[in-house]
C-alpha cells in the first residue's frame, strides 16, 4: 500500500527520468548505433513509466471499473511483450506528461470559481464564557454567538450589529464596491469586509446557511451539474472503455497481430470526450460568477443559449422599481382628512404603490385601521374612523359601486396617457381622489435590450399589472416588440405557458417576489436578485445586485459556452474517428502517434474551454 502511494507521489520525477532515458535510448541507437544501451534505457523507461499507471489501473479494477489506465497498461505490457520498447516507453511518457499538463490547465479553468470560494471566511473572534474574544475556526461558530470583527477582517457569519460602527465593503454579495455604513442594529453578511471601524455582532446564520454560503453552494452545484447529453456520454463511456478492451481482444484473436490490437487500445481512450464538456461548463460558469451572473448548470446554459423570447416584468425589472406619485387630482373637499385616511390604509400594505403613496403624503395623523381586506389584483379595502375606505384600481371601484363621472373618466384617460399607474380612492363608495404613480426606466436598459436583439432574441415582451397606457409607453420607449398590461401574476404565467405552447423558448426576467410561478414556468427563469431573495433558489439564472446590465453578458456567455461545448464534442469525436480511420486505411498510424494525438486533443479541449474565462460581450457602437 505505502509502496503504491510512494510511486504515485513520485510521478513528476518519473516523467523527467523517463524523458532522459528516452532521449538517451534514441541517441545511442541513431547516433552511436549502440543497440544494447538503447534497448535497456527504453525498457527501463517503460517499466518506470508504467508503474504509476498500472497502480491506478489495479485500484480501478478492484472497484470493477475499466479505466483508461487499464487500457494503457495492457497496451504497454503488450508492446513490451513483443519487444517494441520504443513504443512502450514513448506511450507511457506521453500519457504521464499529458496528465501532468492536464492537471495544470484544468486547474486554470476552475480558477474563477476557486477565487469565489476562497473568499469564504475561515476564522472568527468569538466571545468565550469569560467574556474574552478568542480566534476560532468559522465552523465552530453557532447561531447566537457574539463575535468581534476588526478593521480589515472578513465578517464570518450573517448577523446583526450589537455595538460599534464601521464601513463594510459588500462587493462579494452585492457587487457594489462602495462601502456601506453599519451601526447598531444593521445587518451584516458573511464574506464582506470591514473597511474601517470595529463591530460586535451576533451570529444569526452560519456556514452554508449564510447568503454567501448559499451562493457558493449554488455555484459549486452548478459547475458539476450535468445536462442530458453529458449523462449520456457518462453512461456511454462506462461501457465504451470495456468495449474497446473487448474489441482489441477480438482483433487479436482474429489477426494474431499484437501490434494492431494494442494500437486499438491506445486509440480507443475516450479522454477528450469525457473531459470536454465539463471544462467548458466550469469555465463558463466561472466567468459568470466573476461578472455577477449565476448560471445554474449546463442544462441551463443549453436552454438559455437557444432563447428566442424574453419576457420582462415591468416594475423593478425594466424600471427602477421605486415608483413615485407624479399626478394627483382631488374630488370634493376635506383633503387633509382624506390624506390621513389614505395614509392609514396604505400604511397596512407593503405594495410598492402603497409605499409611494405613504411617502408622498409624508407626516400626517394616523387612524386605527380595521377589517383590512386585500383584494388580489384590485387594491385594499378597510374600515377607518367608521368609514369604508377603498384604495385601488378601477376594477375595485366598480366592485365598490363607485360612480365615475365624465370628469373622472377623462382624468383617468389623461393620467394613463402620461404613463401613470392609477390609484383611486373612495370613501363610503364616493370617489375622492385619483393618484397617478410613475416609475422611472432603469438607466441603460434601452442599450441592454438592443444588445439582446443583436444576440438573436426575436421577441422582447413586457408584462405588467399596470394599465395598458403605461406599459405601451415603456414598450415604445424601449423598442419592445409586445406589451401587455392589466396582468395578474396568474395571467403572466398563463401567457408564458401560451408562448411555450407556440414553440417559443422563453426566458422570464423578474424580481421573483410575486413572479415565482412565471420564473418556474419559463424554460429559463432569470431573477434580479439582491443576493438575499428566495428567487435565487427558484430561478435558473440570477443577476446579482439586481443589475440589469448583466443580462446581455449572461446571454452572450451562455451562447459562447454552449458553442464551446459543441466544439469540444466535435473535436473529441472527430479525433477518435480520424485515428480509427487512419489505423485501418493508412500506414503511418502507430501506438505512439495515437497517444500523442489523443493527449493533444485533451489539451486542445481544455485550452478551448479556458477561452471562456476571458469571454466579454463586444461593446456596441454607442459605447465605443
Amino acid at each position: 500500500m505505502s509502496m503504491q502511494r510512494y510511486i504515485l507521489s513520485k510521478k513528476n520525477p518519473i516523467i523527467v527520468i523517463s524523458a532522459v532515458l528516452i532521449v538517451l535510448g534514441f541517441t545511442s541507437a541513431m547516433v552511436f548505433h549502440n543497440e544494447t544501451v538503447a534497448v535497456w534505457s527504453l525498457a527501463i523507461a517503460s517499466v518506470l513509466g508504467v508503474a504509476p499507471i498500472a497502480i491506478q489501473a489495479y485500484q480501478a479494477l478492484r472497484v470493477r471499473v475499466v479505466s483508461i489506465d487499464v487500457l494503457v497498461t495492457i497496451a504497454v505490457a503488450g508492446a513490451f511483450f513483443i519487444r517494441n520498447f520504443e513504443e512502450s516507453a514513448i506511450v507511457t511518457f506521453l500519457f504521464l506528461f499529458g496528465a501532468f499538463l492536464e492537471q495544470r490547465t484544468i486547474n486554470k479553468t476552475r480558477s474563477a470559481i476557486k477565487e469565489l470560494t476562497e473568499m469564504a471566511p475561515e476564522s472568527a473572534l468569538k466571545q468565550m464564557e469569560n467574556g474574552e474574544f478568542v480566534e476560532v475556526e468559522v465552523d465552530e461558530v453557532d447561531e447566537g454567538d457574539i463575535l468581534l470583527v476588526k478593521t480589515g477582517a472578513k465578517v464570518p457569519v450573517d448577523g446583526a450589529v450589537l455595538s460599534g460602527e464601521g464601513y463594510i465593503n459588500e462587493a462579494s454579495i452585492t457587487g457594489e464596491s462602495v462601502p456601506v455604513g453599519k451601526e447598531k442594529g444593521s445587518s451584516v453578511f458573511a464574506g464582506t469586509i470591514l473597511d474601517n471601524g470595529t463591530l460586535q455582532i451576533v451570529a444569526e446564520r452560519v456556514g452554508e446557511d449564510t447568503t454567501f454560503g448559499r451562493i457558493i453552494e449554488l455555484v459549486e452545484e452548478a459547475q458539476d451539474s450535468k445536462s442530458e447529453a453529458e449523462r449520456f456520454i457518462d453512461r456511454f463511456s462506462k461501457y465504451y472503455t470495456p468495449a474497446v478492451l473487448v474489441l482489441a481482444f477480438i482483433v487479436w484473436l482474429i489477426s494474431r497481430d499484437i501490434e494492431l490490437a494494442i494500437t486499438i487500445l491506445v486509440l480507443g481512450c475516450p479522454g477528450a470526450l469525457v473531459i470536454g464538456v465539463p471544462v467548458s461548463n466550469v469555465a463558463g460558469i466561472g466567468n459568470g460568477a466573476r461578472h455577477g451572473v449565476l448560471l445554474k448548470g449546463s442544462e441551463v446554459i443549453g436552454d438559455f443559449s437557444r432563447v428566442d423570447t424574453v419576457v420582462f416584468d415591468k416594475t423593478g425589472t425594466l424600471t427602477v422599481g421605486n415608483p413615485k406619485v407624479a399626478d394627483e387630482r382631488i374630488y370634493g373637499t376635506d383633503s387633509e382628512e382624506l390624506m390621513a385616511y389614505l395614509a392609514s390604509v396604505e400604511g397596512e400594505s407593503d405594495h410598492p404603490l402603497a409605499k409611494a403613496i405613504v411617502e408622498h403624503i409624508g407626516s400626517t395623523e394616523f387612524y386605527p385601521v380595521e377589517n383590512t381586506d386585500v383584494v388580489k389584483g384590485g387594491g385594499i379595502v378597510a374600515q377607518v374612523n367608521g368609514h369604508r375606505v377603498a384604495v385601488g384600481n378601477a376594477a375595485l371601484m366598480d366592485q365598490e359601486n363607485v360612480h365615475m363621472s365624465k370628469e373622472v373618466t377623462a382624468d383617468i384617460a389623461s393620467f394613463e396617457q402620461k404613463g401613470n399607474s392609477l390609484v383611486l380612492v373612495s370613501i363610503d363608495s364616493e370617489l375622492k381622489a385619483l393618484l397617478g404613480i410613475r416609475d422611472q426606466i432603469r438607466p441603460g436598459v434601452k442599450n441592454d435590450l438592443k444588445k439582446l436583439k443583436k444576440l438573436g432574441v426575436k421577441n422582447l415582451v413586457v408584462l405588467s399589472g399596470d394599465n395598458q397606457g403605461t406599459v405601451d409607453l415603456v414598450a415604445q420607449d424601449l423598442g419592445l416588440t409586445e406589451a401587455h398590461g392589466h396582468m395578474l401574476p396568474e395571467d403572466k404565467s398563463a401567457f408564458i405557458e401560451e408562448l411555450i405552447g407556440k414553440g417559443k423558448i422563453v426566458a422570464f426576467v423578474g424580481d421573483g417576489v410575486n413572479d415565482s410561478p412565471s420564473l418556474a414556468l419559463a424554460q429559463i427563469g432569470i431573477a434580479m436578485g439582491s443576493g438575499t431573495d428566495v428567487a435565487i433558489e427558484t430561478s435558473d439564472v440570477v443577476l446579482m445586485n439586481s443589475d440589469f446590465s448583466r443580462l446581455p453578458h449572461a446571454l452572450g456567455l451562455a451562447k459562447a459556452t454552449a458553442r464551446n461545448m459543441r466544439q469540444n464534442i466535435i473535436i473529441a469525436v472527430g479525433v477518435v474517428l480520424v485515428l480509427l480511420f487512419s489505423l485501418f486505411f493508412s500506414e503511418w498510424m502507430n501506438m505512439s502517434i495515437g497517444m500523442l494525438v489523443h493527449e493533444a486533443s485533451i489539451l486542445v479541449v481544455i485550452l478551448n474551454g479556458m477561452r471562456l474565462l476571458r469571454y466579454k460581450l463586444r461593446p456596441t457602437r454607442e459605447e465605443k
Binding site: V63, V65, Q223
Partner: protein, 77 residues
C-alpha cells in the same frame, strides 16, 4: 443519518469520478443513492449511518484508491 462532504485533491481524470463513486457506494452504511462525486469542485458528498461506518472509514477507502483527502466534515441531519 449524517451528511458528509469530503474535499479531495483536484480531480482531473473523469474515470476518477467513476472509481470514487463505485468505491464509496460499495461501503455498507453509506446511502447509495446519496453519493455524489463532483468532478470540478473535486468533492464527494454522501449520507451515511454513523452506527455502521465512520467518516474515517470512507476516507480510508478513497485514499486507498490513490486520492488525497484534503478536508472532510460530517453533520447530523
Amino acid at each position: 443519518m449524517h451528511k458528509a462532504t469530503i474535499q479531495l485533491e483536484a480531480l482531473i481524470c473523469p474515470s476518477c469520478v467513476q472509481k470514487i463513486e463505485k468505491a464509496t457506494k460499495g461501503l455498507s452504511g453509506v446511502d447509495q443513492d446519496s453519493v455524489k462525486v463532483m468532478f470540478n469542485s473535486s468533492k464527494v458528498k454522501f449520507d451515511f449511518d454513523a452506527d455502521k461506518i465512520s467518516l474515517e472509514d470512507v476516507e480510508k477507502a478513497i485514499t486507498a484508491l490513490g486520492f488525497e483527502v484534503i478536508k472532510s466534515q460530517a453533520k447530523a441531519k
